[in-house]
């Protein structure tokens, strides 16, 4: 462990502080465009007629469509200690389908800060949780993302 932590009290003050909520309409055109962009021909996402006969009675969004419902700004900007950032990964949990016509309210908060020494020098792992709540007040899904911030300019090399 380094003698001096890169995690400051100022950073810790961001833990569990939610971003400004943003509400999105799940539009048919946006869902179909997203399915086309990822190259997924599943009729539940693209074929309104077929989807109407299916288990949801209409079009639903592909699971990772939620990625396009971008959270609002944090109430205060997080003080990044290093200039370089990598997307470490993502973990979705799904509780309700995302249907065309839903209204989804998105909030995001940093839930964990961890410091590690590795091949990129000192790295800060920032875990954030994004919550997606539908118009019925149901928690439809969560996404946990891990960002890796580091000083070494050589990235993944």
């Amino acid at each position: 462990m380094p003698d001096k932590s890169v995690i400051t009290d100022e950073m810790r003050a961001h833990l569990n502080v939610e971003s400004e909520p943003i509400t999105y309409d799940v539009e048919k055109g946006a869902v179909i465009k997203f399915a086309q962009a990822i190259g997924d021909p599943n009729p539940l996402f693209q074929d309104e007629k077929a989807a109407r006969q299916g288990p949801y009675g209409g079009l639903i969004a592909p699971p990772t469509f939620l990625r396009s419902l971008i959270p609002g700004e944090a109430k205060k900007e997080f003080p990044r200690p290093f200039p370089n950032n990598l997307d470490g990964g993502s973990e979705y949990e799904f509780f309700e389908p995302i249907r065309v016509g839903d209204r989804i309210t998105v909030t995001r908060a940093i839930v964990d800060l961890t410091e590690r020494e590795g091949r990129l020098g000192t790295m800060l792992f920032t875990t954030a949780e994004t919550r997606y709540v539908n118009q019925l007040g149901q928690l439809a899904a969560t996404q946990r993302t891990t960002g890796i911030s580091y000083a070494t300019p050589e990235g993944e090399k």
Partner: protein, 143 residues
């Protein structure tokens, strides 16, 4: 699209693989559809100035490919419960990618048929650049 049933799945079974090859055009379409306009995904000069060997595929697009792997396999009456991925290495456009997986567990939980899988996206050299896990709920034949 066929329907997969809980009774038909065994630990060790293969998740039917799918193949992908992302063109630079697809990366631009994904940038527009997802709202991720970071230039390392479509501006070659920008990517090289950032120390990359060229434009790279969005991690979230690889996540979407792995989502399709699972939703295709489970069929329309399956429900995706959990999808996790880690980005271990970068992937590049115009490369043949394979998404595949293996069933690692199954159990009945509250009357639902829960199946767990290890999944991964492999690059053209066969390296699992993007491993992950999925949990699905499958319909039961008797139900």
């Amino acid at each position: 699209m066929g329907q997969l049933y809980f009774e038909d799945v065994n630990v060790g079974d293969e998740v039917t693989p799918i193949q992908k090859n992302a063109s630079s055009q697809q990366l631009v379409k994904y940038a527009g559809a997802s709202g991720d306009y970071y230039q390392i995904h479509y501006d070659d000069g920008f990517a090289r100035n950032n120390g990359l060997d060229g434009i790279i595929i969005h991690g979230a697009l690889k996540n979407a490919f792995l989502g399709q792997l699972v939703t295709d396999w489970m069929g329309p009456h399956g429900q995706l419960k959990k999808l996790s991925v880690s980005y271990r290495a970068m992937d590049f456009p115009n490369e043949d990618l394979v998404c595949s997986g293996t069933v690692t567990g199954k159990r009945v939980e509250g009357g639902a048929g829960i199946v767990e899988c290890e999944i991964a996206l492999h690059n053209a050299a066969g390296k699992a650049t993007t491993p992950g896990k999925a949990i699905v709920s499958l319909p039961m034949r008797g139900a």
